[in-house]
Each structure stands twice: as structure tokens, then as C-alpha cells.
Amino acid sequence: MSRWIGKGIATGVRTTSFPDAQSLGEEGAASAIRPVWQSLTPVQALAAADLCPTAALEASGTQSKGELRFDAGACILCGRCTREFPAGFTRVADPRVAVRNRDHLRTTVKWGDGQPLAPASLREAADQVQQRAFHLFRRSLHIRHVDAGSCNGCESELQMMTSPYLDLHRLGLFFTPTPRHADALLVTGIVTQNMKAALLETYAAMPAPKLVIAAGACAISCGSFSSSSMSAGPLDQLLRVDAYVPGCPPTPQALLHGLLLAVERATERNQAAPDGTHGP
């Protein structure tokens, strides 16, 4: 046993300083894909919507007049659009992609009458996020996770949150085995017909006030499975959701950002904005 202690000490501290800015994106993979409207032509926008295997990109209209709707909550980061139109779609390494409001993941651009693409409705939705008593959980948050029909990718990443690199315990965040002790319900998966009842029972067993976090494209929008008749979701049709963490699966840093955002310890970045830098 003493050898293990020695091993642990010899390894040193490997924990990231996240959520500090200097350690962003060290996971090596993209956390989100974002359209660069200024570099897209209507032809490309229509073609990109055809490429998209989910409902993340949907277009209507023609070359002369139409619109493109982008939903980061349905994006599974397959990379088809970024490969075909590298200038029109960019991969975002910054893992701070979680939002409080579902609409913050959506944006629409229109074109027509000789005008180029322009974002039409960046929704001013900040006021729609009702202030709830979540600051109560700022110091410590106990999370009950429910897999409601995922592929195991999200669970693998959730397990990585407890690995030494991210070590979520240092931030006062804990997974709890019982819903009675839980402050937050973290849901992954499409909410299958078979898991719907178990999910709702778990939610009902939690004391109020309680948070709900939708993690991953499946929980947010059913992702790849939006046309499966086995889906009873997405989650926000069953429960009121307080934070959305896009990704397929979301990286551990993105999940951590989502948890901190839900308890107002982190700020939101507007996913729909072209440079993604300014919050609502």
C-alpha cells in the first residue's frame, strides 16, 4: 500500500486550473462547431444543410432568398460541414459552450434581395432565464446522474470528470448515489420510452429546489435519434431544464462549465454569435 502512496506523490499534481482561461481547450478536440456567417454564400448554406446528418443545419428557400437555421444543440460534431466548407464553419476549442437558455444554441440567418447572409434573430433571451434559487448551491453541489438512453460516450466523459486532470471534487461538486441528497439532475441520452418512467421517478424523489442539466446532443435535441420512435424526449419536453451542455459527447471541461453555469459560478458565452465572445 505504501508503494501506491509513493506512486501518487511521485506523479505530482496533474490537475488543470480550469475554469481559468489559460487551460482552455487542452483536451485536443473541438467542443463545438460554429458557422462563420460572413464567409458563407447562400449556395454553400443550402449545400451544408444537405450534408448535415442531424437537425443542426436546416435550410429553406432558394439561392436568391432563403434562410439557414443553426442549432448547436443538435450538432454531433461529425465535421461534414467543416470539411466541405472550411471557411464557413469553424471548430471551437474553447470548452465553455454550455448555455442556460435553449434558444441561445439556435440562430437563423437570412439572405435575399441581393443581401448577403446576416444573422436575423439573435434572440435577446437573457430575460427569459428566470432567476431561481440556484446561488444556494454555489459552494457545493450534489449531482444525481441519470442515463436516459445514451451511447455510453457521455458516461465515459462523466467518469473522466473525476480523473485527476479535472478532479471536480476540488470545486465542491460531487456525484451522489441517491436522489434524496441531490441538488441537480444531470441527464444524458435521448430519454427512451423504457427510461422515461425511471427518469421522472428519480426527479420526483429529489428535494426542491432542484436543478436539471441536459448533457449532450441526445438530451438536448435527441441528436442523431430525433426520428426514433423509441425516444420520449428531448428532455426539456418532460422537465424544465436549467442548463444545456452541447457536444457528442460533451468534453469533461464542457460538462464542468455546464455545472458551474447552472449554479451561476460561470458565465455563458453566446454560441450563436459569430465570434462567440460576447454573452447575452
Binding site: 487542452e26 483536451e27 465535421g79 485527476p164 420510452q193 423504457n194 427510461m195 420512435s229 457528442c248
Partner: protein, 515 residues
């Protein structure tokens, strides 16, 4: 060349049609089918049994078989004229869960099956079959699927202890109903299917290239292997070739996936025995492997890089050298950790003789993957049915004889060594240039594709129409085979406190089973 497989089939009086050099087809009458398959199974392995229906044609029952010493697959099929067929299970235990699935999903009854209970859709109305008819009326489903009576275990002081479907940590949903006399596990009734997403049904009508993303979502920790087996099935069906570089890249990434998955498996074993430092050490290794995957491909779970006819990405020399340095470090560190674990008695005592899966039982149920190899089943698709660039590298297929958790730990650790060895060889002999592969011969056809996933061989059978869209897709993942022996091994004289060790040592994903 007269082939062993051909001789075997001919001994049953059947004609073999070679559709590809490693894929043979044979047909027989419905009433002969059970006898033929169980006769073949004396010297061959039943790797899959499935029904594919392309209306208006009648459903076709197909058995996929392989044998030691022949790299080919045999697909023996029969047309089902009636809604019932003679069950193979009384003669061939390995057919049991396949037949239960056929009954549950297609409504075709295996006559004489000893226990034709439900596998996935526990309290569903009897006359709904998701692979036969959709859309499904979901109005009646509003309670927990708990109504299925499990095997009734009675005796003085025997009680039931349910675990799941919502588990204690961030784990996948599955329900385990334990029958216990206090400490011991007398019997466990597995309830899977909570995560049933009907993936194969969803893919129907989609262009094959687009459905790769669905295959990659069968399970997160075997995303690449399942995507690869599916892509290869499509490529074989349409006669598409893949360039040498792309085959190399595929092999490298498949091994990288095995490495991160095995790091995770051993880490969970350490966690289950309370060795948190060891669990953290393997957690570090797994995170490093996932980050390496992210840097190489842009996705930590290697999704979105496969395409029909090749790869979407090209690995440059810089990142390859970086990976090589990293792999060399993993070789050394994982060897050191394995030594330390072997010297830690609190670890080895928990694993030793826990959840024994006897070689005889494993052989009778045609168990596959690391679980099978830990019970002396010496099969590995990478060696027995070479694909991608596996014929260019040297590696051993480790096996163990004891079949307990200790054997499964040793097996995962030894396999890790071989995977890292394969990666180093591939990185040392990277082919130059990138020739464009020739356009495929056609768009329609059907074929079998395979790959050795971290949990065992995964088999994907596809049928494409003239447009290159999927008519039917059958995914036989390793989890579809290995949950059955898991339930058996739980009841082999273990205590309830052994369960985390058992679960970690088997390392099977419910999502990969449920589909």
C-alpha cells in the same frame, strides 16, 4: 484450394456459393435449418443468428458461422414461410438470446425454446414488434418495465435485491435483480433494454455514408470499431477499395480505441477494489489517450473520420511522431502499474476466483472477446479474419485459462501491451503517399463487415439498394453475446460485495447491447 469451411458445409449436403473470397453463402430448407446449424456448430462457432426482412420477400433467417483454421465466414440462411421456426437452443445454447431477440423484435417464434422471455422490451404489449412494424404506439408505456417476472428463486431466507436501472454513479442504465440469502448471490436476473433506441431501424432508408454516424453511436467506447465494421460491410457490398495509408490509419485508430478502453477497464477494476491511487493513475492514462485521439482526429472518441472508401483525415508526420513518443511512455507506465497491482494483495485477493466463467461454459455459449479469451477461447478477429493492416504487424493473442476476474484483469493488461506494440509498428512503417482509391463497382449489394472491438468481435451485415441507401442493417455487437455469460458468472458463488468487481472485469456496455 479446397477450404475447410467448404468441406464442412458439403458434409451436410449443402452447396456453397462464394460471394467473396472470405464470405460464403449457403441455403437450406426451413425444417433442416436447426439440424444443419447445430451439426455445423460441432466444429464451427455460431457468431450471429438474425432475421432480415425486405418486404415483400418473406423473412430470412441467417446464421453467421466461422471455424478455426479458415478466415472465411459462412452465412447459412433459410426463408421462413411461417411465423414460427424450430428453435436451435435445445441443441445449441449459443442461439438462445439471438432467438429471444428474433421473437421480441420480429414476432417470429422459436418453437421449443426453453425460456423465450423478453430481453429488452419488458412490459410492452405483446403484439408490437419494433423491427417488423413501426411507428409504435407509445401511449400505453408509462410505467417502469418491471412487470417481467424473473426466474423465481425460492428457499429459506432468500430475498430479492433490485439494483438499477438508475445506478449509483455516472454509469449506464441497466437493472440487476439479485436473489440472495444474505451475502451470497444465488442468482441474478438481468434486465437490459432500458436504452433501446432502435438504431438499426432508424438507419433504414439512409444513405450508407450518412449512417456511419449511427454505427459510431452504438456505443461510445467502441465507437470506432463499430463504425469501422459497418463501413467495411458497406465497402464490401459495393466493391469499394481502400488505400494503404487509410488502412494503416484505421488500424492505428482502432488500436488507440482499444488502448483507451482497456485503460478505463483496468481503472474501474482498481476503483472497484478501493485502490483510488491506481484508479487515478489509469484515469490519467485514459485521459491522455483520449486527448491524443482528439489531437489526431478532432474527436476524443474518434467519431466522424471514417467514410466509405477511406478516411476523412490524413495523419501528418508531426502528430504521428508525437503519438509515438506518447505510446512509448504508456508502454512503460502501464507495465509499472500492472506490476504494482499484482503485488497489491487487496487487489488480487478480490479478483482471485471471483465470477468464474468456466472454459466449458464459455465454449458452449460461444463467448467472445477478452471475456472469452480469459476463459481459454482463443479467438481474435484481428488474427483469425485479418482486415485493414493487421496482416502487416506482429502481435500475439493472449489467453488465460482460469476464467475469473483475475484472468480477465491479466487479459486486458496483456492485450494492452500488444495493442501498444501494434501502434508502434504501424507508426514505424507508415506508408508514403496517398493514392486515390478507385470508384466502387456498384451501389447495391449486401455484405458482412467485421472488426475486433475492445469488447470482442463486432459483426455488421448490411444490404443496400440501387441508390446506395440501407435496406437492412444488422449489428451484432460483442455485448450482444457477452451479457449472457455475465449473468451466469455472477451466480458462481460470489457475494453481493463482489458485484462491482464482476461488472468492471466484464466491462460490457448496456448501450451496445440494447442498441
Amino acid at each position: 484450394m479446397t477450404r475447410q469451411l467448404e468441406q464442412l458445409v458439403a458434409s451436410g449436403g449443402l452447396q456453397v456459393a462464394w460471394r467473396r473470397q472470405d464470405e460464403a453463402y449457403a441455403q437450406c430448407r426451413q425444417r433442416e435449418f436447426a439440424d444443419q446449424v447445430s451439426a455445423l456448430a460441432r466444429s464451427a462457432t455460431l457468431s450471429d443468428l438474425f432475421v432480415a426482412t425486405v418486404p415483400p420477400a418473406p423473412p430470412r433467417l441467417t446464421a453467421v458461422m466461422q471455424m478455426v483454421g479458415d478466415p472465411a465466414w459462412l452465412l447459412l440462411s433459410t426463408e421462413l414461410a411461417t411465423k414460427a421456426f424450430p428453435s436451435l437452443t435445445p441443441k445449441l445454447h449459443a442461439a438462445s438470446w439471438y432467438e429471444r431477440e428474433i421473437l421480441e423484435m420480429h414476432g417470429l417464434e422459436p418453437l421449443g425454446h426453453p425460456a423465450p422471455g423478453r430481453l429488452r422490451l419488458h412490459n410492452w404489449p405483446a403484439d408490437h414488434y419494433p423491427m417488423r412494424d413501426l411507428p409504435f404506439d407509445v401511449g400505453s408505456l408509462s410505467q417502469l418495465p418491471r412487470s417481467n417476472p424473473g426466474p423465481a428463486v425460492t428457499g429459506q431466507g432468500v430475498f430479492q435485491l433490485p439494483l438499477g436501472p438508475v445506478r449509483s454513479g455516472p454509469q449506464e442504465s441497466a437493472e440487476f435483480l439479485f436473489f440472495s440469502g444474505g451475502e451470497d448471490i444465488v442468482e441474478v436476473d438481468l434486465r437490459l433494454g432500458f436504452k433501446y433506441r432502435a438504431i438499426e431501424r432508424l438507419a433504414e432508408g439512409q444513405p450508407a455514408d450518412r449512417a456511419i454516424q449511427l454505427a459510431e453511436r452504438l456505443a461510445g467506447t467502441s465507437a470506432f470499431a463499430n463504425g469501422l465494421a459497418f463501413t467495411r460491410a458497406v465497402e464490401r457490398a459495393i466493391g469499394s477499395s481502400v488505400s494503404t495509408v487509410d488502412e494503416h490509419t484505421r488500424t492505428l485508430l482502432a488500436e488507440l480505441e482499444r488502448v483507451h478502453s482497456h485503460f478505463g477497464t483496468i481503472g474501474r477494476l482498481a476503483e472497484a477494489t478501493g485502490l483510488l491511487v491506481a484508479a487515478s493513475q489509469y484515469g490519467l492514462l485514459k485521459e491522455e489517450a483520449l486527448r491524443a485521439a482528439g489531437r489526431l482526429t478532432g474527436h476524443r472518441y474518434l467519431r466522424g473520420v471514417l467514410c466509405v472508401g477511406g478516411m476523412e483525415i490524413e495523419l501528418e508526420a508531426g502528430p504521428r511522431d508525437e503519438l509515438k513518443t506518447q505510446v512509448a511512455g504508456w508502454v512503460e507506465r502501464s507495465a509499472g502499474l500492472k506490476r504494482l497491482l499484482e503485488q497489491t494483495t487487496t487487489f488480487t485477493d478480490r479478483l482471485d476466483t471471483t465470477a468464474i466463467l468456466l472454459p466449458d461454459y464459455a465454449a458452449a455459449h460461444h463467448v467472445i472477446g477478452p471475456v472469452g479469451r480469459a476463459s481459454a477461447i482463443d479467438r481474435d478477429a484481428r488474427r483469425d479474419h485479418p482486415y485493414c493492416a493487421y496482416h502487416t504487424v506482429e502481435f500475439a493473442v493472449p489467453t488465460q485459462a482460469d476464467g475469473d476476474a483475475e484472468a480477465r484483469f491479466q487479459l486486458h493488461a496483456n492485450e494492452l501491451v500488444q495493442s501498444l506494440r501494434i501502434m508502434l509498428q504501424l507508426l514505424d512503417s507508415w506508408p508514403a503517399g496517398r493514392e486515390r482509391s478507385a470508384p466502387p463497382a456498384g451501389r447495391a449489394g449486401s455484405a458482412l463487415g467485421w472488426a475486433e472491438a475492445p469488447g470482442g468481435e463486432t459483426l455488421h451485415w448490411v444490404e443496400l439498394d440501387q441508390e446506395g441507401s440501407l435496406l437492412r442493417w444488422r449489428a451484432r455487437t460483442p455485448a450482444a453475446v457477452n451479457w449472457h455469460p455475465f449473468a451466469h458468472a455472477c451466480g458462481s458463488g460470489n457475494n453481493l460485495t463482489d458485484f462491482p468487481v464482476i461488472e468492471a472485469s466484464f466491462s460490457i456496455s448496456p448501450a451496445e447491447f440494447d442498441r
